[in-house]
């Protein structure tokens, strides 16, 4: 009986370890990518280029956090790139047309745009009972279309934007770019929410077994709506930060970003059919994908190959994930029967 109990704790330890292994695995993969590149070109690890690396990854990482909230519930939000684009353009326009707009109010405006978009997605999915893939594929085009219609081919440049906003994109605290700090803070808050709050845990329950979630009295529609609203809100924030970072916005901002975000989430170990995964993993996934792109540039690998390599990485991440899941399932099976003690 002690043997059984011991095997039980062994399984528990294995399962928590597998959870951590995911994040650790990404860190190892990062090292595998960074170290050879640094040897070939030592400038790659100088503070300035590391800062650039983090800055480039931070917007995708931010979107990946929102995406994780949605994917955990067994849904997907393909509209995040378009939401970012719409929010970025409207925020920039707001600052350009009303130069007196306070910084936080302007960013809040962008967040509000994202929130409204997320609310629309969420209502269609949760109340309309339409698969999220279809809904957000639709709103991907709708939001982008609105963006193009409003922009009318215009571009808003740094010259028209307030210095406070542009400073936000380039300033640092203790050497760390503010954008990176904002992303880290978002990751921390979302991680705490998912780990320690009832409604956060219910998002996992929803994705793990939708039928059981209903029977357990979980407000399924409300939680689904919450996930989409949060994803939209974060995409709105990302839009405002995009303006701060690049200083130039047209209607194409963030086009195609959604696939990078989904890739980051999957590489980060979030199960694509819901129920498991962490925001930290997803953010690390975004960092890894971003780093690989930079490495390929430093290593002077032709740009044509970059997408193929990123894709191969995605496939290997899924393979590793699957293998780990199988091993875990096997370990858990051999410990069943502990109740017959």
């Amino acid at each position: 009986m002690t043997a059984l109990a011991l095997r039980g704790t062994a399984a528990r330890r294995l399962s928590t370890r597998v959870g951590r292994v995911r994040e650790l695995g990404i860190v190892v993969a990062l090292a595998l990518v960074v170290i050879p590149t640094a040897i070939v070109n030592p400038r790659f690890v100088q503070p300035q280029s590391v800062r650039d690396l983090l800055l480039n990854a931070s917007i995708v990482a931010l979107l990946a956090v929102g995406q994780t909230l949605v994917v955990i519930t067994r849904n997907v939000d393909l509209s995040v790139g378009s939401v970012l684009g719409l929010s970025a353009f409207l925020t920039a326009q707001q600052f350009a047309n009303h130069p007196g707009t306070p910084l936080l109010a302007g960013i809040g405006f962008g967040i509000g745009i994202g929130l409204a978009c997320g609310l629309l997605n969420g209502l269609l999915v949760a109340l309309g009972n339409v698969p999220s893939l279809v809904v957000t594929l639709g709103t991907l085009y709708v939001f982008r279309g609105i963006d193009y219609a409003l922009a009318h081919g215009r571009q808003i440049n740094a010259a028209n934007l307030p210095d406070a906003l542009l400073d936000l994109g380039s300033s640092r605290v203790l050497g760390v770019p503010v954008l990176v700090l904002v992303t880290l803070a978002t990751v921390a808050v979302a991680a705490l929410y998912l780990r320690s709050y009832r409604s956060g845990r219910e998002l996992y329950a929803l994705g793990s077994n939708p039928e059981a979630a209903k029977l357990a009295g979980i407000p399924v529609a409300k939680r689904t709506l919450t996930a989409f609203v949060l994803s939209g809100l974060i995409a709105g924030l990302a839009g405002a930060l995009w303006v701060a970072r690049y200083g130039t916005v047209d209607a194409a901002a963030g086009s195609g970003l959604e696939l990078q975000v989904v890739a980051a989430v999957v590489v980060g170990g979030v199960a694509i059919f819901g129920g498991s995964g962490t925001v930290a993993g997803a953010a690390l996934g975004a960092l890894l994908l971003g780093t690989i792109t930079s490495c390929l540039v430093v290593l002077q690998i032709p740009a044509f190959w970059q997408q193929a390599i990123s894709g191969a990485l995605l496939l290997s991440a899924i393979t590793v994930d699957r293998l780990l899941a199988l091993r875990l399932a096997k370990a858990l099976r051999t410990t069943e029967g502990t109740s017959h003690a």
Partner: protein, 499 residues
């Protein structure tokens, strides 16, 4: 006994489209009683339970709690009112820990409304110790055996301090020992004035546990009263509305040639060195406790799982490991334990399901002939006395017993020489059960070798020509029909073989 009921259904009716699932059913659950809900499959028990659970809203009639009419707008309301349901199919979150499954939506909170994980695990352990089981609260629910999943569900219901606990076939997957534990818990709940509604097809358990019973037939209320004056026969008569001739009609047949020979089959950590033969015209029962490795042996024989050693030989030809295709080509049919998950495509039509294992035969140049498909389903529907509205209806709308008939039809249409049936009558009403038994007996009469896995001893003893007993992954006993008694099988299953 004059205390007012905790919960009552008053003249409740519920229809789904044209199908009337409940018509004018009343039920009263008194504080401190265990009340049995009886009826054949399709009698409306599930609908009644889901009405109590707040999943279905009654069309007419009402649910009364302490005499006050309730309008549950969803399961959350019923839970809040203190009605906990343990469903027949466990409804757990595989990715989450056992403790979270128990406390989902009601996790103990600590500082800043954050979930207090330590407290949650401690409370879960406490519940498990009340149930007398050892399960790690922190392990994920995925990978738990059905029996363990059922125990998690029971712990969940206990955690509510529910006033009404509905148990839908809770013992179907439990071993005798666990059933006794469960009964102990039910007694404790009764002592705290909770009402327990107990749904089971095992009448001996009903008599052991319950004081009163309510019988439904075809969605209608038939009878309700104390069990003291009743016998199993009288209850069965009320359930089926007719006399039952004989439950286990296996005809004597002369055993023929060896059709299936399993030789020293081993799958590491699951079962070891299992050898036995199945002859033409024979029904061989594989008995043992849940978790002894019976279903696993069947799965390995049919090639779903790959064995680590040993051989499966059909009519002198050795089968390839891990290939259901090879097993099917050799003439083996397999009716799995879990028909909803493994036996049927629930959303597909009756005819589609029935034809699923015979697609090659029903096709011309790779194109499936709809007409042949329908003809095959029609033929078997009649032969198996399937009760259905249209062959194009999804299998999911059928009752459990009729679903099982469709699974049987699927395999019988292939004219197998060996048929493996895993728990062929689990969760099936008495009438259909007898029909399944008659069918298996007929098949044996036609020279089919049947390997039957069953947890119900009366079924094993009534049907089998030989009984093989497994204990902890090993075959420990083989009994001929004449030597097989309830006691000897039960002893062997518990690992106590007199040698």
């Amino acid at each position: 006994m004059d205390r007012p009921p905790v919960v009552a259904l008053d003249e409740v009716s519920k229809s789904f489209g044209a199908v009337r699932a409940l018509s004018g059913v009343s039920l009263q659950l008194l504080p401190g009683e265990a009340h049995a809900l009886l009826g054949e499959n399709g009698a409306g028990k599930s609908t009644l339970i889901k009405t109590l659970a707040g999943v279905h809203r009654p069309d007419t009639g009402q649910v009364l709690l302490d005499g006050a009419p309730q309008r549950f707008s969803g399961p959350a309301d019923a839970l809040a009112a203190g009605i906990a349901i343990i469903y027949q199919e466990p409804t757990l979150f595989g990715d989450l820990s056992v403790a979270e499954n128990v406390f989902m939506g009601r996790q103990p909170l600590g500082f800043g409304r954050r979930i207090d994980v330590g407290e949650m695990h401690a409370r879960t352990s406490e519940l498990f110790s009340r149930l007398g089981v050892r399960l790690d609260p922190a392990r994920p629910a995925r990978g738990l055996s059905i029996a363990d999943q059922q125990l998690v569900e029971i712990a969940k219901a206990l955690s509510f301090d529910a006033r009404v606990i509905v148990m839908d076939e809770p013992t179907a997957a439990l071993s005798a020992h666990e059933v006794q534990r469960l009964f102990g818990v039910v007694q404790a709940l009764r002592a705290q004035d909770a009402a327990v509604l107990f749904v089971s097809h095992r009448l001996d358990e009903v008599f052991e546990l319950c004081q009163r019973a309510t019988v439904l037939r075809d969605g209608e209320f038939v009878w309700s009263g104390p069990l003291s004056g009743e016998t199993p026969d009288s209850l069965v008569r009320r359930m089926v509305g007719r006399e039952l001739s004989q439950l286990f009609p296996k005809q004597e047949t002369a055993a023929g040639e060896v059709l299936l020979s399993v030789q020293r089959l081993t799958r590491e950590g699951v079962f070891t060195d299992v050898s036995f033969d199945v002859r033409a015209g024979e029904i061989v029962a594989l008995s043992g406790l849940v978790g002894a490795g019976r279903s696993e042996v069947a799965r390995a024989v049919f090639g779903i799982d790959r064995p680590d050693g040993g051989a499966v030989v059909v009519r002198g030809r050795r089968l390839k490991y891990g290939s259901p295709t090879a097993a099917m080509a050799a003439g083996i049919g397999f009716v799995p334990e879990d028909r909803r998950q493994q036996g049927l495509v629930m959303d597909a039509s009756i005819e589609r399901n029935a034809a699923l294992a015979s697609l090659g035969r029903l096709s011309t140049f790779g194109l499936l002939r709809r007409r042949s498909e329908r003809a095959l389903a029609q033929d078997w529907a009649v032969r198996l006395r399937l009760r259905f509205a249209r062959l194009s209806d999804p299998v999911g709308v059928l009752s459990g017993g009729n679903q099982q008939k469709v699974v049987l039809a699927k395999w019988l249409a292939r004219k197998p020489s060996v048929l493996i049936v895993d728990e062929p009558t689990r969760g099936i009403d008495v009438g259909t059960k007898a029909e399944v038994h008659r069918l298996l007996s007929e098949l044996a009469g036609q020279g089919v070798g049947v390997l039957m896995i069953s947890s119900e001893l009366p079924e094993v003893l009534g049907m089998a020509d030989r009984v093989l007993v497994m204990h902890e992954g090993r075959l420990v006993e083989e009994l001929a029909r004449a030597e097989a008694t309830e006691e000897r099988v039960a002893l062997a299953a518990a690992g106590q073989v007199a040698r």
